[in-house]
Subunit: 353 residues, 2 copies
DNA sequence: TAGGGTTGTTGAAACGATTCAATCACCCTA
DNA sequence: TAGGGTGATTGAATCGTTTCAACAACCCTA
């Protein structure tokens, strides 16, 4: 039923080769012929068969986007950037949500291999690039997303999380906080490890105390639970530096439920500057990452590599995070004094957008 | 370089047909042969070529997910549901973000047609199913997502938005509010129109006044702007019923900036119950939709139709929204009295999860 | 006018899987 | 032992493109 090249060729009275040329190298075809073919295409409603084209070409005009969790607003914005850039370049995007499960990631990588995708943008679920080897051997363009660069076999785009960590702790430090708690998900998430490195490094350089409050995952629920536990055990800190905004939101929930005030009793700073950071119970100070741009850049790198495999050199793009100061951070209370901070001690609120 | 069926066949000393049988009808192959083939597959690291299979099969094991805006948390959760169900059924998901632009939607539909996807889950950018006709004619399974059912040519899953609208306005009505403002994006978005119908219908039945505050889009910025404008012009209402949570969040920002208190001076209710509704400056009362389930159901319907085209009958699944009462709604202030409501007049806060 | 360039068009061979009629190798029974 | 039946395997056609060597038609120049 659906029209094929052959049907178009028959209708236009030319060979299939010519129709193919009209599609792919219009300049090689004489104007009158081209016109005839084009109207045949139009009349038959011909839409090229991508699988056939991909079979012949040995690769599909498709990119795989492999992320741990698309419902994390960070990846959501990245996905938009990837998708826009891909569409501009004539590629489609296959969405692969790993849930941070290695098995699911493996499964998806096999599917992408089977689909013969041209490129993959991935935030790997684990430290090793091992599962990607097979794809790389096949010549698939891979770009690591927000994941520490490893070797020079692939491109990568990332945010400088170490700087991000330093930025966060530096901010509360400049407000006079000396005892800091670092609330984070599992350290085997590379981005988290880098942020923590930045935090600890800065703390060491400036003589700050850092207590780690381990959270089960990077979710609000986990952040809430971690802080609740720490409070029950008598947490000694005046500022919570959180590994991401979800954790920070959870942390603030736990603080509120314990009757502690943010930022009066405890300053809280997040990471990611998700859309709702500005609208949280107390607008959240955070570290902003250029998410959409990150996604766009990743897709552009991959497409660039696909387009010109020979001259391509792998690049590492580092995006710098920026501090967004809102209301959840304030000068440290004097040790031993009242836990109620007056509103007038708050720093001015900056609300970009 | 990559191994093909032929390579596997050669290695195992059988014909390609047999290898194909091992893959697709293992029971047709004698055990020893099967073992030999399987180890050849393993040794060569053979991964089937999906384009070739799809070319032959005339359709790809792929579903298209066409949504207006993946960064809207509603669609994000739907996407997860779709993706999980698709993966379970052996399908991949192609992500298509239309930005509510008809042209972009058309472009994506053509791409999906070209890819020969088996099914499409779509929230159309406009009222008509016209752009889908071509796909339907081709036998592609289509399921409408959260969009009014039209005709019986396709399946659909949706939330009963009219009930949702009634639920929202019914809630504030039961708190004593008589003058309501309806804050909404463009009415040509069908879901919004349905919610509005529910609101107006209920208001008519109960003698409430409804003022419409048109917002440019379904975003926080638009909600903020709409309410800001209305306040400047002397809005006469005690409750804002918002077409979604993003708008509600924006509305609350505008109220806060104008020195109005929520819910003391103005009750606000949203729609969608996105993740952050519970953590907003004032925890937001909202209407919850079963988002993930909606996505799963949509994907299952599509897959069901793909699997058994002959006996398939189109179904419409209606999911019922539920009211989630939090702190942003309170009894209406007495007409003409102080604009400051005491905390004790608030209804008890219910925080499900 | 023969020969050499251009320019346009053709036809057939891939690409890698699926499918199905045909064949083969057995075993069982009459 | 011939013949029928069963189960396993094969081989070739097919899906719809792309690509490229070969060919055709034409003009230009020597």
């Amino acid at each position: 039923m659906p029209a094929s090249l052959k049907d178009v060729a028959a209708r236009a009275g030319v060979s299939v080769g010519t129709v193919s040329n009209v599609l792919n190298r219009p300049d090689r075809v004489a104007a009158p012929t081209r016109a005839r073919v084009e109207s045949a295409i139009h009349e038959l409603g011909f839409v090229p068969n991508a699988p056939a084209r991909n079979l012949r070409a040995q690769r599909a005009q498709v990119l795989g986007l492999v992320v741990p969790d698309i419902s994390n607003p960070f990846f959501t914005d990245v996905a938009r950037g990837v998708e826009d850039a891909a569409l501009d370049a004539g590629y489609s995007v296959m969405l692969c949500n790993t849930d941070e499960q290695a098995a699911r990631e493996d499964r998806y990588l096999t599917i992408l291999e089977s689909q013969r995708v041209s490129g993959i943008i991935i935030t790997p679920a684990r430290q090793t690039l091992r599962p990607l080897d097979r794809l790389l051997a096949r010549g698939v363009a891979v770009t690591l997303l927000d994941s520490p660069r490893r070797g020079s076999e692939v491109c990568s785009v990332s945010v400088d999380h170490e700087t991000g960590g330093r930025l966060a702790v530096g901010h509360v430090s400049s407000l006079g906080h000396r005892r800091i708690a670092w609330v984070a998900g599992p350290r085997d998430i590379p981005q988290v490890a880098a942020r923590e490195d930045g935090v600890r490094e800065y703390a060491r350089e400036h003589g700050l105390t850092v207590t780690a409050l381990p959270a089960e995952s990077m979710s609000a629920a986990a952040g809430e639970e971690a802080v609740r536990r720490a409070l029950a055990q008598g947490l000694d800190a005046t500022a919570l530096v959180c590994a991401n905004d979800l954790i920070a939101v959870g942390a603030m929930r736990a603080l509120r439920d314990s009757g502690l005030r943010v930022p009066g009793d405890m300053s809280v700073i997040g990471y990611d500057d998700i859309d709702f950071a500005a609208s949280a119970a107390v607008p959240l100070t955070s570290v902003r990452q250029p998410r959409y741009e990150l996604g766009r850049a990743a897709a552009e790198l991959v497409v660039g590599e696909c387009r010109d495999r020979s001259t391509h050199v792998h690049r590492h793009m580092d995006f710098q995070p920026t501090l967004v100061v809102r209301a959840s951070t304030a000068p440290a209370p004097d040790r031993g004094t009242s836990t109620t901070a007056s509103a007038s001690t708050r720093p001015p609120v900056e609300e970009p957008r």
